[in-house]
Symmetry: D2
């Protein structure tokens, strides 16, 4: 039986995201990717704005790697899927964005689990790991 | 009988919008306001990305005036209401943003209706005026 | 004798700031205005990132009001002048941006002097007032 | 004899770039990277805003890969070095950003040389290749 995996959100490319060729500027795509990570963590019940204050840790980015396969234009409805791949002391967020059935851009963010205030890495809290696994691929 | 006026959207303040005090940076609020104008024009059936190409005009901004009454924080759900006030050759977009019942920020954008390509002002097309009036206050 | 007043910086409009008509998106102009306020406070010796931590106050924005008179394009060299107008418990930053001799955009930000942490307004510290006055108009 | 390679610019992290921990948001670092590519192309005499209009080609991004080694804070003076590595029909921009002697972030953008208007890849124009080689490593 196939299990659905991943978290999905729709991103509408806005006029204010676009360049003289009518396609989205790359930094605006990065804004949409980061917004997606923020929406995902909120969906999980571990929003970025709470984990440091209430749980004493963060998930700072240590690497990002993206490929841009097809440009997107103002008005495009882009489905951005985020699939978490949790490790022991880190998590990888895999992204794939599709528009009209084609991949527009894809890649990943590597994030470490770190004590709040620069105190070094730590294991992912068990509840957060369990939440990631609900959205992970088998 | 009271008529509902205005277009509303919900804006969730994201961690990536916030400053060292935990409140939204002003330029990120401006991003949210512009996104709201873009969503509204799409809702009307006159998206910014179509009017110049298909109808030969634009609505460039000539003035913006905003007051910031209460700060907003990551995770806040902000209701941004946009009420258009169409003139002959221009339109004013009035904004009011509320969070937990209080006004967070409010103000307006003044936009002129201009021929595409810098050709001077023109009257609002009748269909667009009619669309604005559906959302305008009496 | 006329004294020169105001703080000036050059802003080069970038390709990544521009829209399908080749002109700067309004939110990117707002980014440039805010960057200018940040550069000015650093120039004065009261950078935004120090005043709260070392002096216990901030200058949150309570109003912004800008007019956009002429569009700017990628590659344009824009001179943004900021002239402070200090009050007792507030300061107004007046902006005028010129490109090739014409005003591109102008307006002001009204900022209050407030105790760090939401503790209400306070008088501008004397040293900061003196610093503003060096750049103020007579 | 050692030849200096690479193009350098200074980026001052602004208050408006920073997050609740006082460090730069990742999307704001990406803005600074893209601004650097824009400044570099202008320095070469092939600004992004001219090459499509006057030379009929562009350098769209097809991949970005960055590592974030050390956070940067408001007020930090970051030296961003861009070293181009031209191929036949593409160019890689290698970046290394240093602050107080340590690497803050580094990585690359892969860009293809493409006919304006989506017409497929083409060889780098000879003059542009020569310009890149002046900044390339041996």
């Amino acid at each position: 039986m196939t299990e659905m995996a991943g978290y999905e959100r729709e991103w509408t490319v806005r006029f204010s995201d676009t360049d003289p060729f009518g396609i989205a500027h790359y930094p605006r795509i990065v804004d949409a990717l980061h917004e997606t990570s923020d929406m995902f963590m909120e969906e999980l019940g571990f929003p970025f704005w709470e984990i440091s204050q209430e749980h004493g840790f963060g998930l700072p980015l240590v690497e990002m790697n993206f490929e841009f396969e097809n440009p997107v234009e103002a008005g495009d409805e882009v489905t951005i899927e985020l699939t978490p791949d949790p490790g022991t002391r880190s998590v990888r967020f895999e992204y794939e964005a599709r528009c009209d059935g084609d991949v527009a851009f894809s890649g990943h963010e590597q994030r470490v689990c770190a004590h709040h205030g620069g105190g070094g890495s730590m294991e992912l809290p068990e509840e957060l790991r369990a939440a990631f696994e609900q959205y992970a691929e088998d």
